[in-house]
Amino acid sequence: MKASSTGKSLQITNYLLLAFAFVFASLVYQPAFAQGPTPTDDEVNAIAKQLYCPVCENTPLDVCPTEACRQWRELIRTQLSEGRTEAEIKQYFVDNYGARVLAEPPRTGLNWLVYLLPPAIILVGAYILFRALRAWTKPVVASAGSGESEAKPVAPQDDYVARLEEELKKRK
């Protein structure tokens, strides 16, 4: 469900370019000297899980198999060993790559809409439903033309069950 072959080809090219850039960068850039014990993979993944790389759409960083994402995870490890906190590391990624690296839009400005609109619509829907139910449960004035305001006969399936019910009562 995740992949569509043609749509992804452009994306793959993008990612290859990015991966290449990362590999190149890693050749010239030596990570800062680790100051603490090397953080475990689990500690790295705990943070990576909450981040998305801008290239591999909709794949969290902890499970993304691409080389680019592997480099990112190493970056998290380096930062962890330098003593940075989870929040600082996430902020570092947001500063460098934009808010889309976060699994959810930050709660600022226009982004509030994403959190507020659905509950608002649901409440309106619930209100409409409540009103409609209230209106329906009041007896309906016979609608013009049809001349039928009595309840419809219940379908045979329910007759059957009703019979069963009666049968049950008798036996009790």
Binding site: M1, G7, L113, V140, E167
Partner: protein, 699 residues
């Protein structure tokens, strides 16, 4: 030659579909049965035509005609024949042909039925299906042509467009140009070569396309003004089968993700997944609310809204699953078909809603609701909840686009958003699933409901207490388990009660009574089986969502990793090429690990990483040990190529996830029971008699 032929036939089917639309409308306006019959035959003709074109495309795919761009993109010489055939739906152009082919098949099947009592519907059903068909064929003929080829000029230079991209065209673009035939194709994305992925798209498409039929009947009912529930009765089975295919397509997609995507899950709230999920939501709401119209003559407007929404979401989903263009405004603007799809969805949606508004007064309910706790009221609540999930999903998918358009800032709306927003809605749905079967059509009170439910509720509570004592202290999980148990007990009690009653009344043994009971009201009991299956699936989902544990580590041979009572010991690593006709096609790197639990040896697993040379892609295949209690899911993340001493594994323990797959099999069974054709005609006398009464009264 073949490419021209295939394209020509497609062009002809496009014209035939357009003719069918025109003839049907003309026939109605001039009250000419002969012209309507001509429209019907034109519709019937589209099926063999598109089949011929599809056969041509398959021939090109199977026989390595790499001058055809689509064939080049989705196949390669090393692929086995069956994959070359299924590559038909491996890319956008081909899947549009596939969609059209399915639609023409379904539309033909519908037009072949007996129309004696519903003659007035026929032309409009043809109009709706033929317009949809013409739209999809038009996309293929004018924009996403699977028969377009590569060309070179007289000097052997590849012909490119101004933007530098290779030019593709069915016919000679310049005088003297000849087709350019690459030696080999790119090959299908290896992720799509999995059996689950071979069946998943057709299932999803079958579901999508079959929902067009109920929509066509709904529109026919609106146009003709025949606003009783005839259209619903005619399309009830279509809707159920459509729902079955769509549901199964979703499940297969999940299973595929679990097996090949290597992230330990089955569902990532990806826009593409949600696009397929949204019509399922409206479809499920529709299946429930049509029952209210059938039984009580209420909700006629709402059913129309639901079927119209489902159609719009089906088209939207088809577009999104193949193009992925919602990922960015740029991708959308650059895609030739994006704006056209949106225009089509917009026009059909506005037209349908206008028709509905036009007929609004005639769709008034025929009876009143007596109680807020009646089954119809609870079904309405169920509809509200499904619509709420839809709102969350739709908004989550659309919001990144809106954000980018408004502020230029890209954002991700990921799983935490959807999970938080939908979890309470799903819990409420489960609660409804528990009480709705106990409420009666027309009338129920708290008292009657309470009397019916207390035993099941008590049993569910007891089970929850046991789970609290021995399994989990997680509050959310306990609430969910309580709801699941409630639904299971209520549903099983329904089976038990009715079977026992029948057993006594008919003097049958228990199993005969049960079988006959189900046989007598298949929709009801098929529905209950579906409810049970949903709860089994819920157990699986709950297990993986709440109790999943994971660890990752690099170990040398002989060393091990521990997780949730399991010990995974790294034994060895092997690496080899799989050649096809002398050329390496895939490189396998396979680790062997031993599994222990509490010191007891359980067996070996073989997590793998496959590298596909032609498409230069990796695939991570988990080693998975699956039991009813949990799955141990081991991924090979990385390894030391030279020494083979150190390898990195990522290990998940996914409790209860197997129930998801078990539930989906039971689900299949339930839908088949509910949708199985009746031997005797539908139970229609209620409505038919009423119509007859009205008619005789009119006389």
């Amino acid at each position: 030659m073949l490419a021209e032929f295939g394209y020509g036939v497609l062009m002809v089917s496009f014209i035939v579909a357009l003719y069918s639309v025109g003839a049907a409308i003309f026939g109605v306006r001039n009250k000419s049965d002969a012209v309507i019959e001509s429209a019907r035959r034109a519709m019937l003709l589209t099926f063999p035509l598109i089949s011929l074109s599809a056969a041509t495309l398959i021939y090109l795919l199977v026989n390595n005609h790499y001058e055809v761009a689509f064939v080049y993109e989705v196949t390669s010489r090393s692929m086995p024949t069956y994959l070359k055939v299924t590559a038909w739906w491996g890319g956008q152009a081909g899947s549009l042909v596939f969609w059209s082919w399915l639609l023409s098949a379904f539309a033909s099947a519908v037009t072949l039925r007996k129309w004696d009592r519903d003659r007035e519907f026929l032309p409009w059903v043809i109009v709706v299906t033929a317009i949809t068909l013409a739209f999809f064929l038009g996309m293929v003929v004018f924009y996403e042509n699977p028969f377009a080829r590569y060309w070179q000029d007289i000097n052997g230079q590849l012909i490119t467009r101004i933007d530098g991209q290779l030019l593709t065209s069915v016919f000679t673009p310049v005088i003297g140009a000849t087709t350019f035939i690459p030696d080999d194709g790119q090959g299908l994305n290896p992720l799509l070569r999995h059996p689950g992925m071979v069946i998943h798209p057709p299932m999803l498409y079958l579901g999508f396309v079959s929902f067009v039929i109920p929509y066509a009947f709904a529109i026919a009912a609106l146009v003709t003004g025949r606003t009783d529930d005839r259209w619903i009765r005619l399309t009830r089975r279509w809707s159920l089968w459509a729902w079955l295919f769509l549901s199964f397509g979703l499940v297969l997609g999940g299973r595929w993700a679990y097996d090949v995507l290597g992230w330990g899950g089955y569902w990532g709230w990806d826009p593409v997944e949600i696009a397929a999920f949204m019509p399922w939501l409206t479809g499920t709401a529709f299946l429930h609310s049509v029952m209210i119209q059938e039984k009580r003559g209420l909700l006629k407007h709402w059913n129309m809204v639901l079927v119209i929404l489902t159609y719009a979401l089906v088209i939207f989903g088809t577009f999104l699953t193949r193009s992925g263009v919602l990922s960015s405004v740029h991708a959308f603007a650059q895609s030739a078909i994006g704006p056209l799809f949106f225009a089509f969805i917009g026009i059909t949606f506005i037209t349908s809603i206008s028709l509905l508004i036009w007929r609004w007064p005639e769709l008034r309910g025929e009876t009143e609701m007596k109680s807020m706790l009646s089954r119809e009221a609870l079904f309405l609540l169920n509809n509200l909840l499904f619509m709420s999930v839809l709102v969350v999903c739709f908004w989550g998918v659309i919001f990144p686009l809106i954000s980018e358009l408004a502020t230029g800032a890209k954002v991700t709306v990921g799983p935490p958003f959807y999970e938080r927003a939908t979890a309470p809605l799903f819990a409420a749905l489960m609660f409804l699933m528990g009480i709705a079967p106990l409420s009666a059509w027309g009338h129920s009170t708290l008292n009657t409901l309470g009397r019916a439910i207390w035993k099941s509720a008590l049993a569910a509570l007891f089970l929850t207490v046991v789970l609290f004592a021995v399994y989990t202290k997680n509050l959310i999980a306990l609430i969910a388990f309580f709801l699941i148990a409630l639904v299971l007990f209520v549903t099983m009690q329904e089976f038990w009660r009715a079977t026992r009653a029948r057993q006594r009344a008919q003097d049958e043994n228990f199993f005969t009574a049960l079988a006959r009971l189900i046989g007598r009201s298949r929709r009801r009991y098929g529905g209950y089986i579906i409810h049970i299956s949903m709860m089994l699936m819920a157990i699986g989902i709950l297990g993986i969502e709440i109790f999943q544990t994971e660890t990752q580590g690099t170990v040398a041979v002989g060393e091990s990793l521990d997780i949730s009572g399991y010990t995974v010991e790294y034994k060895e690593l092997a690496n080899w090429d799989v050649p096809v006709r002398g050329n390496p096609q895939v490189n396998y790197t396979r680790a062997a690990v031993s599994i222990f639990k509490g010191g007891v040896y359980l067996g070996e697993l073989y997590p793998r990483k496959d590298y596909y040379y032609d498409s230069q892609q990796n695939m991570t295949i988990p080693g998975n040990r699956s039991t009813l209690r949990d799955d141990l899911y081991v991924l090979l993340v990385d390894w030391q190529p030279i020494s083979a001493n150190g390898a990195t594994f990522k290990i998940y323990v996914n409790p209860l996830v197997n129930w998801l797959w078990i539930g989906s099999l039971l689900f299949l069974f339930g839908v088949i029971i509910a949708a199985w054709p009746d031997k005797d005609p539908e139970q229609e006398p209620v409505r038919v008699n009423k119509r007859a009464r009205q008619m005789s009264a009119a006389d």
